[in-house]
């Protein structure tokens, strides 16, 4: 697509990439702060219990110990660790420390000491007596009458939503439209199946870390590996009782997030300790701590009942999702909601639909935001159902989807029915390249050559499968982003934004957007982001929002600056601003006179009408245009061993006009591999007490370069008129495809339905030999 853009749409390398490759950039733990105390945690080794007594006296007097923290001497403030807009849609159900322990890995206490080793040694000196109580691990039993209850005190939701801790229900959504009974009665067949997905870790290569120190005037500075610096400031303030004005949060380079750093669970402990001791403090998690105490992908059981007519019409769709919130409820409502909201609109011709979702507490690790955010779980189930429906109708999967998927100019009632803890926002699709994604992805995988052929290679049988999905671009009417742009007298610009680049490249694409609107080179943009003192507010890096929401704020801001530049130039050239044009950092008059941006800035700084050429802008979206994706897996299944070999994987994505194709491809490829790894190997293994038994990369297997199959990435450009220079989001969507595409490919090869991830050789072998 040729839009004659100069910066938008160009594959600039990420502006921090060279410095990262040279080892010059700093991550949180790379900052040297002066003599911090090191904080270490004592974790529960019982899944459920009440602390009967705790004696910290010996630990307090141990060598190097400066503070021992537990429920008796820390703020008793109910909050959620979910880094979301305020008031958060997640229940206020956790405290910094609690006398009740809810999973193996829950925090009993912490020690702050002169060194990590001293802190860890002192942890062992804390004497704790725990009355162990009956634990709950099975989500299906969570709402039983006699089920043990996890949250029975004063936990509450911060917004008016269903919250029934007396039944272990952390969140509930019941919605729908049409007449289900009538719908099912009109069907020629009813497909009714249950699927499940497992617990998983984000595995960002940088473990969670935070450092806190005081500036020269005694204000507290928090350097933290976060996706949500402004939410960190707010939550720390609320939990610790420290005024916002006394807190500065700085996000340095962050070593990946994927949702795992959309959580605020270390910062309040480090900040409280530092504030109490008036001394710098730090917490750096080990990988094991990330596995057992940080957040996870919510495990989910999804039952789908679908009525299908022979002509392909889906007469009714009933979805019943049961999600494992774990011991606390961050994102328990919104991940659940997304499993419907980002999934069900894709097939928008269904007239009778019901969606029932429940998130339930269990005595297991805590769920949270994870790239895909419920849509991953929802699409796993739906795509296999669609595969079955198409087969029932005798229609090719690709042709079936192309006929029935939502198109440009269309809407879905689901958009309005399902939102973030309240009703959603109605919208009409303005750009949809899904059919093109299907055609190009199918071409790349050799769909027609391999589908249904079941060719043999020794013990291996080949098959191809596909999956389709969408996501959103930010949270409409809720998420706000803002920025500031000022001009310098060499024609460069400072762009400051609260947007949080966690490796995604948002600093880079936001600079490209600004450069485009300012008619100047990308190299003229200097970006500073994510510092709550010096950059304006942004909700943060989540919900696939930065490109679309912050991008729109940046475009608006840059256009305002551009108008100010033209006004100044008009004054200098004694003409009207309307008669001027600009390119490459120069303003050109109708008569061909050229003045440089540098000269214009200097004129306004020093000569006439003196002012700083600058602007600010905020943006809140009224819609959330979905990106679309079609993904294809070409697999061989070894019928002797049950092993699945991915020969080739193709992912075609419509993310509108990709602002930076190189970085957009990178988002797709990373998400696809995470999805493949999740589908085939990654899982939390629990013993019968709910203890994770594989908390290291040796036993929790994530894909290495050696495991990686050939991945073909296709960007099927569309132009989203509401997006900045046509762009939609791309960060999350591609994770939704691999599990169902592989499952559908395995069915194509050997005729078994893999309804429960991960697809281990044992599972595959068992199903083949059933």
């Amino acid at each position: 697509m040729n839009n004659n853009f100069k910066s938008a749409g160009k594959s600039h390398s990420k502006m921090d990439s060279l410095a990262l490759a040279c080892g010059n950039e700093k991550f949180t733990d790379d900052f040297k702060i002066e003599s911090p105390v090191h904080i270490a945690f004592r974790y529960s080794d019982v899944p459920s219990g009440i602390i009967r007594s705790i004696d910290i006296s010996e630990a307090e007097t141990a060598e190097g110990v400066k503070a021992v923290l537990y429920f008796g001497n820390t703020p008793d403030v109910l909050h959620t660790t979910a880094g979301q807009g305020f008031p958060e849609p997640s229940p206020y159900d956790c405290r910094m420390f609690d006398s009740k322990l809810r999973f193996i890995g829950d925090r009993i206490a912490a020690v702050a000491a002169e060194s990590k080793e001293m802190a860890e040694a002192a942890l062992k000196l804390i004497k704790v007596e725990i009355d162990e109580t009956l634990a709950l691990f099975d989500i299906e039993k969570a709402m039983d009458k006699n089920a043990p209850l996890l949250h029975t005190d004063d936990e509450y939701p911060a917004i008016p939503v269903t919250y029934r801790p007396e039944q272990n229900v952390a969140a509930e959504i019941v919605t729908g439209f049409g007449d289900m009974e009538k719908g099912f009665s009109e069907a020629d067949t009813i497909l009714d199946e249950t699927y499940s997905m497992q617990y998983a870790s984000h595995c960002a290569t940088e473990p969670h870390a935070v450092q806190v120190y005081f500036d020269e005037r005694g204000r507290m500075v928090i350097i933290t590996a976060t996706q949500v610096p402004f939410h960190v400031r707010r939550i720390v303030s609320r939990v610790c009782g420290i005024e916002i004005r006394n807190i500065r949060v700085i996000k340095p380079r962050v070593g990946g997030g994927f949702g795992g750093k959309q959580e605020v669970f270390l910062e309040q402990v480090a900040a409280f300790t530092a504030w109490k001791l008036k001394r710098p403090a730090k917490i750096v998690f080990s990988r094991k701590e990330v596995f057992i105490n940080a957040r996870t992908r919510h495990a989910m059981r999804s039952r789908i009942k679908m009525g299908v007519k022979k002509d392909g019409t889906i007469t009714a769709l009933e979805v019943d999702d049961l999600m494992n919130a774990g011991a606390y409820g961050p994102h328990a409502l919104t991940v659940l909601s997304n499993a419907g909201a980002k999934v069900l609109p894709l097939f928008n011709k269904i007239e009778n639909m019901s969606f029932t979702g429940r998130s339930v507490y269990t005595n297991l690790p805590v769920g949270g935001a994870y790239r895909g955010y419920g849509a991953t779980q929802g699409y796993f189930a739906l795509n296999q159902h669609i595969d079955e429906a198409a087969r029932f109708c005798g229609i090719d999967f690709c042709e079936y989807v192309k006929k029935w998927h939502i198109k440009s100019g269309e809407t879905s009632r689901v958009f309005e029915a399902l939102g973030e803890g309240k009703e959603g926002v109605s919208q009409y699709i303005k750009s949809c390249g899904l059919s093109e994604c299907i055609d190009r992805g199918a071409g790349a995988i050799g769909w027609k050559d391999h589908r249904g052929k079941r060719s043999r290679n020794g013990n291996r049988v080949r098959g191809v499968g596909a999956a389709v999905c969408m996501q959103g671009s930010g949270i409409p009417e809720i998420d706000m982003a803002s920025c500031h742009i000022k001009m310098n007298e060499d024609g460069s610009f400072n762009l400051t934004t609260g947007a949080t680049d966690i490796g995604t490249g948002s600093d880079t694409i936001l600079a490209q957007i600004a450069a485009e609107a300012l008619h100047t080179d990308y190299e003229n943009m200097i970006v500073l982001s994510s510092d709550t003192d010096t950059t304006p507010f942004d909700t943060g890096a989540y919900a696939s929002s930065t490109t679309y929401i912050t991008g729109n704020a940046v475009r608006k801001c840059a256009e305002d600056v551009f108008r100010i530049i033209l006004d100044a130039a008009a004054e200098m050239l004694l003409t009207d601003a309307e008669s001027l044009s600009a390119s490459d950092g120069n303003v050109v008059s109708a008569g061909g006179k050229i003045i440089s941006y540098g000269d214009i800035c200097a004129y306004r700084m020093y000569t006439s009408g003196q002012l700083q050429i600058q602007a600010t802008a905020s943006f809140v979206a009224h819609e959330s245009p979905p990106p679309f994706s079609a993904q294809f897996a070409d697999v061989e299944v070894d019928i002797e061993t049950g092993e699945i070999f991915i020969l080739k994987y193709a992912a075609a994505v419509d993310c509108g006009m990709p602002l930076n194709p190189l970085l957009a491809e990178g988002q797709v490829e990373g998400a696809v591999l995470n999805g493949i790894s999740y589908a085939l190997t990654e899982e939390y293994l629990f013993n019968d007490r709910g203890k994770m038994t594989n908390p290291d990369f040796g036993r929790y297997k994530i894909y290495s370069i050696m495991d990686t199959p050939e991945i073909i990435t296709i960007l099927a450009d569309t132009f989203e008129e509401s997006g900045p220079y046509g762009a939609k989001s791309v960060g999350e969507i591609a994770l939704n495809g691999p599990a169902p595409a592989i499952a559908n490919a395995v069915y194509d090869a050997v005729g078994i339905r893999l309804r429960h991830t991960p697809f281990t050789p044992e599972k595959v072998w068992s199903l083949i030999n059933e």
Partner: protein
């Protein structure tokens, strides 16, 4: 503190003397002395974020006792180049989209360096074998493979100049 060890190492071609606890790993020794470009991703030898070159060979520095590296030569990614004068591998990683969050990148770059010294024009399989110990969660590795190939080209070109 008593029972500290004091030893000499050559780090990035400079002779250095460090004092450290007997149980200290090479990773913690380096990080504690300002070489924070060596990253700590797992401390179990599984992720490769802490890779350095020890006497010409890549090692996970979290798996090496600092004391065992006495008198050794250690290279971190900063030995290769800096932003003003980057090594071709660093340039290739940056330009190929092989750097997203960048936490694993110093390790990836050093594994690539060791590979390209031995095999200036490696095959895909050779690249995969050489970088198998370096986990990346961001890129899906596709652009890392492209970066290694591009780095090889750049290095071969500069060798011919």
């Amino acid at each position: 503190m008593n029972n500290q060890l004091t030893m000499t190492f050559t780090v990035n071609n400079e002779l250095k003397t460090f004092s450290f606890a007997p149980a200290a790993t090479l990773l913690s020794l380096l990080r504690d002395n300002g070489y924070t470009e060596v990253h700590n991703g797992c401390e179990t030898g599984d992720c490769g974020a802490c890779v350095v070159i020890l006497n010409g060979k890549t090692v996970n520095s979290c798996m090496v006792l600092a004391a065992s590296a006495k008198d050794s030569s250690i290279l971190t990614v900063k030995a290769l180049g800096d932003v003003h004068n980057p090594h071709p591998i660093q340039r290739a990683f940056a330009e190929s989209g092989a750097v997203q969050c960048g936490f694993c990148t110093p390790g990836q770059v050093l594994s690539t360096y060791a590979l390209l010294l031995e095999k200036p024009d490696p095959s895909d399989d050779e690249i995969k074998k050489a970088l198998d110990g370096n986990i990346c969660r961001c890129t899906g590795y596709k652009k890392i493979i492209e970066a290694v190939k591009r780095a090889g080209e750049l290095m071969r070109e500069s060798a011919h100049e």
